[in-house]
Assembly symmetry: C2
Homo-oligomer: 404 residues x 2
């Protein structure tokens, strides 16, 4: 069968990468991998979930096993609305909320609602690798704007929007992860959050705010989501249960105005009909019982120690010229190798030393990022963090030596 | 905000329909609805699931709550391969199987792998409404071929393929539901299954076989899936746990060659990353324990009675000129109203009489089907089947009277 000619244009573009092939070695048991984006299994509220499962079968039974509405279980959407109010003073209501299969599905659905092939989408540089995959499925054009210590370079943003509009190509939305950004671990200042809204207002653009980590704060004062400052209803907000409950149950949600929510729902009928109903009842009980508020401090405590340990290990193991971010929360930090080293080439050396990371290029839609890497500090055991960063330091030193 | 100009072309095409608005009335508690496509809650193996949930938390714990691979839990794919062999003598292996969020996701992903905007896709007429939504998300052109008592009109199929090829537009795939078809309840003969493969071979086309119901057979001899007769690896086969376990846990699977499986997986990384892991362990235990083989006969027995009851009620309640199919399995039958009645208009009268169905036009991508409707016989209570068909007969008689 002549298969190649039958594939759609988008599926023709999808190919495995050399780096992805290399990362298969990262799954070997003797390799310490900082490459994944996984919560620590110790963060899962196992006992709570056991209790919840019994409740679900006794109280909801067949309802939790049946098809559900495309928008999601109403009581769960009510609980999410309540939490958005309690935690972030964001007023919304269930009809503005749609529950999806993890926030990955939110990235996909929102981009499908707005992007035609070739449309401009704006993101931070670097940005989340999963957003790149999701948006690329619509074959858009990318405008990326440098992420500074306190948020996007907003002068660069303004200039790039102007240029696009002059080309008669109005960007469709600005995608940002303003709190404990993935991959960089950085957090936007309040000033920049407000300024971004002003720019979006000036050019009549949508902001797509991805907020998976803001409840996982170790240090520093809480910052409200951009959605909190949004007076013109131009922010689409996305949250997830993956970091505060479990990623395996695949639940995220999108808050937007009713016209957008409706478009997402109409598309979703074709894409996957409805989100896992059983999982939705687990999340509902987790919120309603208040278990979530007992669990989050435990997760924060667990991850704070791991972050501290990784920062300390980096201080001890890295040669001069290597720098990294110091996140106040979330799951990742970003290492820059100021040695003209190529982290894709370095990965081979790292794997020889039995340690793995994600190369910086994965986080740029345009192939930049060759002198950087993302490290996850939440998944590994404490002793592996120390040992793994030691190995990574050794690999970098060897590679510098080879280069000279 | 000027929202309308920001929507993508596909999302601009998505609008709620008048019929869908009408169907909101079908949710009122005093309306008997044959409109849904839901399994009966009594078909869910509640006690099995309770046992399984305890096993999962004790034996898999955190693994069931963590992210999983995009292709799905390996042990589940092994169990699915085993079942394909045991039930249908189809030899496959885990690397040819990808687990998805219900078969709706399979419809979407397969169509996204193959269809560019404007590409031809071929289906039976009528065909599954969810396939129409999924495929339409890629904005294809439709070629529909009449479904006869024993399968597609294969002369019409051949002629339509020839014509398309003459236009230099080779169809991408032929979508069929050959066993207890949704909506018609009809089953393809073995001869037609083989003949379809010959046609697909002659024109080098892919067949996409959707097989949600073949294990739900009440009467007649089992017929093997088209995939069983496939010597050239041109059939993509799709199964689901929605009818034999639970639709709320959203699990389906696609069997195809490794090149196609890989494309689906690469796309899925952007669409939803991975399928619900917790649900996958439920399905794994359901298969591995053999509980499924004890449950299916119960489901068959439950639905056989309901089918018989609906057929009997139709005999008793319908005026001359109304005809219907007599399915040997599955969940639906198809009613044709040979009175020049329009089932969209009739629906208003039916709802006045507190009974609902899905209008035939929902199952044609081109607006045909106005003299037909789909009835679900699995969901309603026995007494509601009798009462509801009585009300429907009354509504049809009233409508005929009004017309004359």
């Amino acid at each position: 069968m002549d298969l190649e000619s039958k594939f759609s244009d988008i599926s023709k573009t999808l190919k495995g990468s050399a780096v992805r092939e290399l990362l298969k070695y990262a799954e070997q048991p003797d390799v310490i991998s900082f490459g994944g984006g996984m919560p620590n299994p110790k963060s899962f509220p196992i006992e709570n979930i056991k209790e919840i499962l019994n409740n679900i079968m006794d109280n909801y039974g067949t309802k939790a096993l049946q098809y559900g509405t495309t928008e999601g279980v109403t009581e769960l959407r009510e609980q999410i609305a309540k939490r958005m109010k309690d935690k972030f003073s964001i007023s919304t209501n269930p009809s503005n909320i749609i529950v999806l299969n993890g926030s990955q599905s939110g990235l996909y659905m929102v981009s499908k609602v707005f992007l035609n092939r070739g449309d401009y989408v704006i993101s931070e540089a670097p940005t989340y690798v999963g957003a790149i995959s999701a948006f690329n499925a619509q074959m858009p054009s990318w405008l990326t704007v440098e992420l500074k210590e306190d948020g996007m370079d907003l002068n660069e943003l303004d200039a790039k929007i102007k240029k696009a509009i002059n080309e008669k190509k109005v960007p469709k939305f600005i995608y940002v992860i303003p709190t404990f950004q993935n991959p960089a671990g950085l957090t936007w200042s309040v000033d920049k959050r407000k300024h971004l809204l002003e720019i979006a207002s000036k050019y009549d653009l949508i902001i797509f705010e991805d907020d998976p980590y803001s409840e996982i704060r170790f240090t520093g004062d809480p910052v409200m989501p951009i959605k909190y400052y949004d007076k013109e209803d131009r922010v689409i907000y996305m949250g997830t249960f993956s970091k505060v409950l479990s990623p395996g149950i695949r639940l995220g949600w999108v808050v937007s105005n009713e016209a957008i929510t409706r478009k997402i729902a109409l598309l979703k009928q074709g894409v996957d009909l409805c989100t896992n109903v059983f999982s939705q009842y687990i999340a509902l009980e987790y919120l309603r019982s208040g278990m979530i508020d007992k669990q989050i401090p435990k997760i924060v405590e667990l991850y704070r120690k791991k972050r501290d340990l990784m920062l300390k290990s980096l201080e001890e193991s890295m040669p001069e010229g290597v720098t990294w971010t110091r996140p106040n929360g979330g799951m990742f930090l970003w290492v820059t190798v100021d040695w003209g080293l190529d982290t894709e080439k370095l990965l081979k050396k790292a794997l020889e030393n039995k340690v793995a990371y994600v190369v910086g290029t994965a986080f740029y839609p345009d192939g930049r990022g060759r002198n950087s890497m993302r490290l996850n500090f939440t998944y590994s055991r404490d002793e592996d963090i120390v040992e793994g960063i030691g190995r990574l330091g050794k690999a970098i030193k060897e590679e510098i030596k080879n280069k000279n």
